[in-house]
Symmetry: C2
Subunit: 279 residues, 2 copies
């Protein structure tokens, strides 16, 4: 099975792809658009993309791509993002002179860098795995990178310090995507989750409240609700909703029919087993 | 008046700070924590921070800092993020050999870079304004940076190409912060907005729906609703809410009292004039 992800080999997305699809062949793409096109066009069998991060919010661009492409969510995974300080064998933490990584990772590890390698230059890189790759392919003595454990393994680097991010509550939720819904008999202990994007009818007073009533009146729990203002369209919104249950079962099916009465558009992105947290 | 922002001189945050506080002295800080501490401690009079972006979602870290610090939201501004290709005088687009910027900006301008400067190396930088600064302070012939118009002015660079981002619906919403609520008589044509963060009581069935009822039953419009799962606490959420009206007026005051009956914690972040969109 071929699974597309965005980024370099050793990226957190690759780790999520391998956790979701054990033994799969992972295929890196430079952009999310490329990932979706590869899946839709049949170049790969599955895809894995990030959809939200506990520090940095929802990845709206991937919600947009989900709406634009004929693909289905078939699974999810919550991955803890642990940053490590990596270097080539022989480098010790006292000899580190430069630290390369994505600016976001550098920022998340600012406290560590200040206290443990205060004299090292901080050098931005295109992504975390790319920084590790750069080290492995050359780099100067005293170079280090901030990246994942997987990147260390991939590029033959050693881990000088583990879990160096200041905020340990850094999790990214990844979605598994497929061209078609998969027939899954048993979703496991956590049950089903269904993801929906909808736009309320214009000028519907209390649109959000009414649309949530279709679920509350049927005792359907919600895991996520998010409004997204459509820029350039004053007062127009999209809503992202994750709810408990499968679209194949009542009362979710009836609730979604009810939602269609109230909304200008409803797109069910998929029903899938609720995922666990790893890492 | 001294206004703190995060980033380098020439950053989009500085542009927002100057649009919100005309004629102010802007003071750059390397981190958001530093911005909040400077405001709370009295080193500056005001602060301006990003809270959500139309492509990249809510900045949860700044919501956290708002909850942890004794500061108030006193205004907001929606800034269109327009990326430009900047270079030193004498450089033309045909002679560009390297393009420096933050990876996110490089990604947002990928289509332009591919079609107009396909042979240029793409070089990550810590931030957009920092890339412009780097050019101004040295750099190689043929270097260009992707940054704001303000960065071009600040660092004496010329604009080789304007608005080079693929998705023109790239807006960031910035908040103006103060140590105290400001007495504003007239909020202007758009009226008031109030921002609230609350945690529902544990195991409250239909907690979200009930908490929204306190506003719907009083015909109070909502501009934003977002659930945020608290990592490490299964089933525990924070909700972000922006609603129409001021906490000083009924029925908002009554609705917030009603919300406190239903919630484990309610934090009103501020009531402020609804902002306009610039840029």
């Amino acid at each position: 099975m071929r699974v597309a992800f965005q980024g370099e080999i050793g990226a957190y997305s690759e780790e999520a792809a391998l956790a979701l699809f054990t033994g799969a062949t992972v295929v890196p793409y430079p952009s999310f658009e490329g990932v979706f096109e590869a899946l839709e066009g049949g170049a790969v069998d599955r895809a894995v993309v990030p959809i939200e991060n506990s520090l940095h919010g929802s990845v709206h661009t991937n919600y947009d791509l989900l709406r634009e492409h004929d693909v289905r969510i078939t699974g999810e995974l919550q991955l803890r993002i642990r940053h490590h300080l990596l270097a080539r064998r022989g480098t010790t933490i006292d000899t580190v002179r430069r630290v390369l990584s994505h600016p976001q990772a550098l920022g998340q590890c600012r406290d560590f860098l200040r206290s443990r390698v205060p004299d090292a230059d901080v050098v931005p890189a295109y992504d975390t795995a790319g920084a590790a790759k750069q080290l492995a392919e050359g780099g100067q003595p005293g170079d280090a990178a901030i990246a994942s454990r997987r990147a260390a393994l991939e590029y033959g680097l050693v881990i000088l310090a583990e879990g160096i991010e200041s905020n340990h509550r850094n999790y990214t939720r990844f979605l598994a995507l497929s061209r078609e819904a998969e027939p899954i008999a048993d979703p496991g202990a956590l049950g089903w989750k269904t993801s929906v994007v909808y736009a309320p009818k214009e000028n519907l007073p209390g649109a959000l409240f009414k649309s949530l009533a279709v679920f509350a009146l049927r005792d359907i729990d919600l895991f996520k609700i998010e409004s997204r203002p459509l820029v350039g369209s004053v007062g127009k919104y999209l809503f992202y909703l994750d709810l408990a249950g499968s679209e194949r079962d009542e009362p979710v099916r009836l609730a979604l029919d009810h939602l269609r009465e109230l909304a200008a558009s409803v797109r069910v992105l998929g029903s899938y087993p609720r995922g666990s947290t790893v890492g």
